[in-house]
Every structure is written in structure tokens, then in C-alpha cells.
């Protein structure tokens, strides 16, 4: 058989991998890392070299950011021949965005009650 072989998606599994919205937020709090994620989302299975060029950082720096994003479940690498190409895994990002919306709305409601309680005439 000739041509590049695809081994398929491989999710890295470091011993202390974190999952959940907290890990997503930790991964996304770095603006350069967010730029790397955007570059992955805008492209189609890009390499760390491609992503570094797109973001304006070295391949090594891009690789480090990709490892953090992968540990948070936001991207996964696919082997194409000898290359590692990266693609997004959207579900954790959507979960994190939903948590932000839900939590923000809940606090808006609680603080509205606090404000009303503060304004109520003394009993």
C-alpha cells in the first residue's frame, strides 16, 4: 500500500490530565493559546509548524500550547504519515461557554435579590 497512512485520532493521556470546564478555562486564559486554538479551528488539520507561522510563534512554542489544549480536550492530533496534524474537538468548548452563560445569569439573579434586599425598608 502506498501513500500517507492515517493512524487516526490519538488523544494524549498525561498522568494528571484535567477534564471539565475548569481545565478548558485554564487552557484558554492565555491569549496566545487562544490564538493557536483559533488557528486550528480556521484550518484543516494543521501542523505545529503551520500553526506557529499563523500565530507568529515558534514551532516549539506552538507545540507546547497544543499540548495544553489537548490535555483540556480542546484539540486532538491525527497522524498523517510522519506528521502530527491538529484538529479541534468542539464539545468541551461549548460546555465551557454554556457554563459561563449559566453561571453569569445565576449571579445576575442573586445580586438582583441582594440589591432588592438592600433597598427594602427596615422591618
Amino acid at each position: 500500500m502506498t501513500g500517507p497512512s492515517r493512524i487516526g485520532p490519538r488523544r494524549p493521556e498525561p498522568p494528571d490530565v484535567d477534564v471539565g470546564v475548569g481545565a478548558v478555562f485554564a487552557a484558554l486564559a492565555d491569549p496566545t493559546r487562544r490564538a493557536v486554538l483559533r488557528a486550528v479551528a480556521d484550518g484543516r488539520e494543521a501542523t505545529a509548524t503551520d500553526l506557529g507561522t499563523a500565530v507568529g510563534i515558534s514551532r516549539q512554542a506552538a507545540a507546547k500550547h497544543l499540548d495544553v489544549l489537548a490535555a483540556a480536550g480542546l484539540v486532538v492530533d491525527v497522524r498523517v504519515g510522519r506528521e502530527r496534524r491538529w484538529q479541534v474537538t468542539p464539545a468541551p468548548l461549548s460546555d465551557a461557554a454554556a457554563w459561563l452563560d449559566r453561571t453569569g445569569a445565576a449571579w445576575d439573579a442573586r445580586l438582583a435579590r441582594l440589591r432588592d434586599a438592600a433597598s427594602a425598608p427596615p422591618s
Binding site: 494528571d16 490530565v17 484535567d18 477534564v19 471539565g20 470546564v21 475548569g22 481545565a23 478555562f25 485554564a26 484558554l28 486564559a29 492565555d30 487562544r34 486554538l37 483559533r38 486550528v40 479551528a41 480556521d42 484538529q87 479541534v88 468542539p90 464539545a91 468548548l93 461549548s94 465551557a96 461557554a97 457554563w99 459561563l100 452563560d101 453561571t103 453569569g104 445565576a106 449571579w107 445576575d108 439573579a109 442573586r110 445580586l111 435579590r113 441582594l114 440589591r115 434586599a117 438592600a118 433597598s119
Partner: protein
């Protein structure tokens, strides 16, 4: 009003928080009694609020939508702040409620909630040090419009 910043903690790096503030027409002592005391929390934090306001004390309440939350008080600075860790059964997070004095005898109450990262605690010691997730939500909205996320639609 929201504050924006980063919170670098040891090797855990910056994190994202939901931050909300409200200004009250109360002096700080009265604001603390309402916002941070055990009796006061019961008037606004949720329904059926039960809290033992001491480090390690238990916290139970019910959200507006019926979600039950349980937690533990992690810190109390009387008159200034109270912190606790809670969960809705799916996501565990750390909350800090801080009361600051403002101009003309008024007060500002700030709440910060940070989602925990697996087994590692990512609480905010300073409510002003975490990065407000509202800005991230704007970016996430733009990000999820990218073609790679189309499968979610």
C-alpha cells in the same frame, strides 16, 4: 461592572472567572450583614440556604431552577469576605464574596466564581485578579462560528 485581570498561581497559570459586582446604598457593616453573614446569605444566595459560616462548615442551598448545591466554607474574613467551594453535581467551583467600602458611605459587593480544574484547586484569593469570563464568552462566540465547529449546529 466587571473587573479584568489575570491570576497567576504557582504552576497553574492564569484562570478565568465569572465576576459580578453590585453597589449597595449601605455602609460596609450593613452590607456585610446582608451579603456575608449567615442570616444575610439566606436572603439572596438561593432558596433553603443552610450554612455554617466557619472554615470547613457545610453549605446547602437550592438555585432558582431547583438545582441543589452543596459545598464547604473555605474562608471567612469577617466584615470583608467569605469563600466557599460548591458543586451542582456536575461542576465544582470556588466562590468568593467580598464587601468593599465605597464613596459616600456606600458599599460594593463583588462575587467571583472559578471552575475547578480536576483535582487541583484554582480558587481566587483576590477577586480582582481573575480574568472575567465575559470577555472569553465573546471570543468563544466568535470562535464557535469557525467552520470546524459547524458540526455542533
Amino acid at each position: 461592572m466587571n473587573r479584568v485581570g489575570t491570576d497567576d498561581r504557582d504552576d497553574e497559570g492564569p484562570t478565568v472567572a465569572v465576576i459580578r459586582t453590585v453597589d449597595l446604598d449601605l455602609d460596609p457593616d450593613a452590607a456585610w450583614h446582608l451579603a456575608g453573614s449567615a442570616a444575610g446569605l439566606g436572603s439572596w444566595l438561593g432558596a433553603d440556604v443552610e450554612v455554617d459560616l466557619a472554615p470547613g462548615g457545610a453549605l446547602h442551598l437550592r438555585d432558582d431552577d431547583g438545582t441543589r448545591r452543596t459545598g464547604t466554607v473555605t474562608g471567612v474574613d469577617p466584615g470583608r469576605s467569605v469563600s466557599f467551594r460548591w458543586t451542582d453535581g456536575e461542576v465544582a467551583s470556588d466562590v468568593t464574596i467580598t464587601v468593599d467600602g465605597g464613596p459616600e458611605g456606600r458599599s460594593r459587593v463583588t462575587v467571583t466564581e472559578v471552575a475547578r480544574t480536576g483535582g487541583r484547586l484554582m480558587a481566587c484569593a483576590d477577586a480582582g485578579a481573575a480574568w472575567d469570563g465575559r470577555l472569553l464568552a465573546l471570543e468563544l462566540g466568535a470562535l464557535t462560528a469557525a467552520p470546524a465547529f459547524a458540526a455542533l449546529a
